[in-house]
Amino acid sequence: MKKRSLLSLLLMLVLVLSAFAPAMAEEVIKIGGIGVLSGDYALYGLAVKEGVDLYVKQANEAGGVNGKKVEVVWEDTQGEAANAISAYYKVTEQDGVVAIIGGVLSGESKALAEVSAEDGVPQISPSATAYDVTTGRPNVFRTCFLDPFQAKAVAQFMANEGIKKVAVLYDNATEYSAGLYESFKERCAELGVEIVAAESAAYGDKDYKTQLTTVQNAAPEAVFLPYYGADAAMILAQAKELGLDVKFYGADGISDIVDYVADKSLLTNLVYTDHFSTGAQSEISKKFVEDFQAEYGKMPTISFSATGYDAAVVLLSAIEKAGTQKEDIVEAIKATNLTAVSGNITFDDHNDPIKSTFFQTFDAQGNKLFLTQVDP
């Protein structure tokens, strides 16, 4: 027995010592890529990674940034805040990155922002849509629009369509869903759109019929569904069973719904806001879609590929202008004004992008249909 404990102790020692191995200094510019790359939300993290990697590859092929190659050090958070902090210290102190792209989810991005703000390391999140990620943190930016922004855009869109009575089905235990609802409610009040029912059903539930029945009884003209795709798919199917035949509106999180729906014709009833549309008409957007297809053999259907690509565009162009000092990079990002694949990007006082919203729907085969691009 003592021999065993001796062995395990030796093993531990080896493990701990190997952690001290210093990072090698190289003639490259290193960027940290931190986000959820495994687990429930890996889909989003991997989409971001594909977008970022694509632009970095293109930049390197074009000669790099200021003659130096760019390398992205990716670290997985598994979606947990504590891991995000650990990953942050790993890339900044072990690998010596000059800036960070990430996190992917709002929670991990907040944790990341908390520590990056302490050091002033530039951070751009391609997909953290919660409001207070950037609040009071001059070094933290994002290339996606916000939950309040898109909720308000949805309300506006509904009002333009002439809808007067809406119902909301949301998850008050999920920050994303609850946050969208709050802003939606606010904007509806301003626009005079009446919310006739607001029902909460937890993320991960399987049966939404009770809430849907209440919604149905309130007889709305449209239903706002601030859910992720997996849940929304079940809701749409159950709504059809109950005979609730109205337009459904969602936000960006719903965009992966097509993977979860058996009967694709259900989707023709759904309109949602997105950070990007593969049907976007601008030249740069079209080129991005082509390049992405050539690189990965698929369409960038998850729009965080586009915002990830844009995050890399913003960051590398800032480094190109300002060099690799963190204060300089932050300043250069703040001054960004460029046309990226998801629209023209500038940053407001809160470090949020002022950019376009894309409204999309689906055809009966489940293909995304570009409805309109609403510029700010």
Binding site: L15, S18, L37, E75, D76, K90, Q94, K110, A111
Partner: protein, 620 residues
């Protein structure tokens, strides 16, 4: 200096040394924030697993909601430091204690009803509790709802403007809190109360009967565990700056439980080691990207397969025994001059006159519809030579196979020196004292004669695999011992000169002898010989008869032999059993058997008995 003082001194010294080393490394920024952050995570995890081990390990109750207590502590502590306008270095300790107390309160509240239950029921209640806590936190205004609490002051920056100093203070605080908690769990465990808690794990009814108020002690253990988990939660909150109820769900509880199980339920030091390894491992494996989770899980599985009771089981790792084993290792590696010889141990058999060495009663076995043995009763007295004869297919070898554990009898009993042997593995039966030879010789053909014998000493040797790899004193002395024994044994059979010959190169008669010799190497009390004379010429057979008698006298072993050669059977057996169609049809001295009409009928065939095959050598 007595052992106890030495032990305490060693522990204190090594903890101090570890602390100084790490603080110096952090203070000089040799150790960066990445490592120091992981170290803090490890320490917090240690508090969690050690405290969970109080309920799961010491008390022996499966609790699945430990992360719930952590959440309570974390939120309480974070809300306190966020709302109370005190200097952080003052408000943090208060908030930690407060977090612990609130968690303990919940521990007690949930414990009062839950601990009247046991096992699975308690597990389910604690599981439900963990989930309820999560849901409540997600729906309360004060806890930030689903968005969670953010911008909680982080310890690693808040203590001082100087970042290194602040990191050092953070580490020191967490380190000493951890040491304090671990020490108190240890001292508790060794007190009257700790004994009471452990006695509940061992046997609740006995504990109650010896005067332990079990419900009270269960509650005590549960409350203490919750208190410590609450403190860990408070530290976690001020490490990460962001709290989200989702992080304290079922998965988190299971994560800690896995660590406890892996370290060994009931071993606090095991929990510590498991926490270190399981927190450090995923970080170490970061370079392997997506494979790291696979490797991590595989390691868990492998570990549970090979050490199902965890790294340390219920034992504790102590600095003293570590020191002593270091001393031994040192001696083993550098002072290996005079290695003593250590003989393989001889099992002590508890034999006395009149008590059968081997007693078989009502033994039976069926293979599907075939009744291969039925109601077989036989016994072997001390140092007796007994024959088991019968026509081909009578079930003789089947009986041998049951005696040696190859077949498990469907009914009846096999007792060796009063110990029931049914259902034991063959190697265990050999260890307990029954050795055999085979009808068709089964030697380790490509091994030397000497090595064939040495293999059979295995069950009588002690040194470990590691000793074998290091070839240390334990190994060398024992190997020297069995070399002497094996050569002695070969000398008895006049085979000393062929010791280094490959077994398959021996003539047939010698192979038979080697097999018997090998069977004797394990120092058995009962030797089963399956047709030892088969294929031997008359000269070899008469030599064999002499050998068998020698064996009995020299090795004090009872011998049961199957044989068709009636000259051998009648010549050396003191008693004979006759088997036909799986049943004993006769028992007696050679003289009685020779004249038994039933036996004659079985062998030669008669009108009312089934015809049996008659072998040329059968002179019955």
């Amino acid at each position: 200096m007595n052992k106890k003082t030495k032990s305490i001194l060693l522990n204190i010294l090594s903890i101090m040394a570890l602390y100084l080393l790490i603080t110096i490394l952090i203070g000089t920024e040799t150790m960066n924030n990445y490592i120091s952050n992981i170290l803090v995570t490890i320490l917090i995890t240690i508090i969690m697993t050690a405290s969970l081990n109080v309920t799961t390990g010491l008390l022996g109750q499966l609790a699945l909601g430990h992360a719930g207590f952590m959440a309570i502590g974390a939120y309480t502590s974070a809300i306190f430091t966020k709302t109370v306008a005190l200097q952080f270095s003052l408000s943090l300790p208060i908030s930690l204690v407060l977090g612990g107390l609130v968690a303990a309160l919940f521990g007690m509240l949930i414990g009062i009803p839950a601990l009247r239950l046991q096992g699975d029921y308690l597990a389910i209640i604690t599981l439900g509790f963990g989930e309820i806590i999560r849901v409540i936190i997600e729906n309360l205004e004060i806890t930030g709802g689903a968005a969670g609490l953010t911008r909680i002051t982080r310890m690693s920056r808040a203590f001082s403007e100087d970042r290194a100093l602040s990191s050092v203070i953070q580490f020191s605080l967490v380190f000493w809190i951890t040491v304090l908690i671990i020490a108190s769990i240890f001292t508790l465990g060794r007190s009257r109360h700790g004994r009471a808690i452990i006695s509940i794990r061992e046997n609740v009814i006995a504990a109650e009967a010896t005067g332990i108020p079990t419900t009270r002690y269960k509650l005590l253990a549960f409350t203490i565990a919750a208190f410590f988990a609450g403190i860990a939660g408070g530290l976690f909150a001020h490490q990460t700056s962001i709290l989200n109820a989702k992080n304290f769900g079922f998965n988190k509880s299971i994560e800690y439980l896995v660590m406890v199980v892996l370290g060994g339920m009931g071993s606090i030091t095991g929990s510590i080691i498991a926490s270190i390894v399981l927190v450090a491992l995923p970080e170490m494996l970061r370079g392997l990207a997506e494979y790291r989770l696979v490797i991590y899980s595989l390691l868990l599985i492998v570990m549970m397969l090979f050490r199902p009771s965890g790294l340390l089981g219920t034992r504790e790792f102590s600095m003293l025994s570590f020191w002593e084993s270091l001393e031994r290792l040192w001696k083993r590696l550098f002072k290996r001059k005079d290695v003593p010889t250590r003989m393989p141990f001889q099992p002590r058999y508890d034999v006395w006159e009149d008590k059968p060495v081997l007693e078989v009663s009502k033994l039976g076995i069926s293979f599907g519809g075939l009744r291969a043995a039925d109601n077989v009763n036989l016994c072997l007295m001390n140092d007796e030579i007994v024959g088991l004869i019968g026509p081909n297919g009578a079930g003789k070898t089947t009986i041998f196979n049951m005696l040696t554990g190859v077949y498990v009898p469907t009914e009846g009993e096999i007792c060796l020196l009063g110990k029931r042997m049914n259902g034991q593995q063959p190697h265990d039966i050999t260890r307990d004292g029954i050795a055999r030879t085979f009808q068709n010789i089964r030697l380790f053909k490509s091994m030397s004669v000497l090595d064939n014998i040495k293999v059979a000493f295995h069950s009588r040797m002690l040194y470990s695999t590691l000793s074998g790899i290091l070839r240390d004193n334990a190994c060398l002395s024992e190997e020297r011992g069995i070399d002497i024994r094996a050569r002695e044994l070969l000398r008895v059979f006049q085979m000393e000169d062929v010791a280094d010959v490959q077994a398959s190169a021996l003539p047939y008669g010698q192979q038979r002898k080697l097999e018997i010799c090998r069977a004797l190497a394990s120092n058995p009390k009962v030797l089963l010989l399956d047709e030892p004379a088969a294929g031997m010429n008359p000269m070899e057979t008469s030599e064999l008869m002499q050998t068998i008698k020698t064996i009995r006298n020299r090795f004090s072993v009872a011998i049961l032999l199957i044989e068709h050669d009636m000259k051998l059977v009648m010549g050396i057996c003191e008693r004979i059993y006759v088997l036909n169609y799986g049943k004993i049809i006769a028992e007696g001295t050679p003289e009685q058997i020779r004249n038994n009409p039933e036996v004659i009928a079985a062998y030669l065939g008669s009108v009312d008995a089934q015809p049996g095959e008659v072998r040329g050598t059968a002179h019955a």
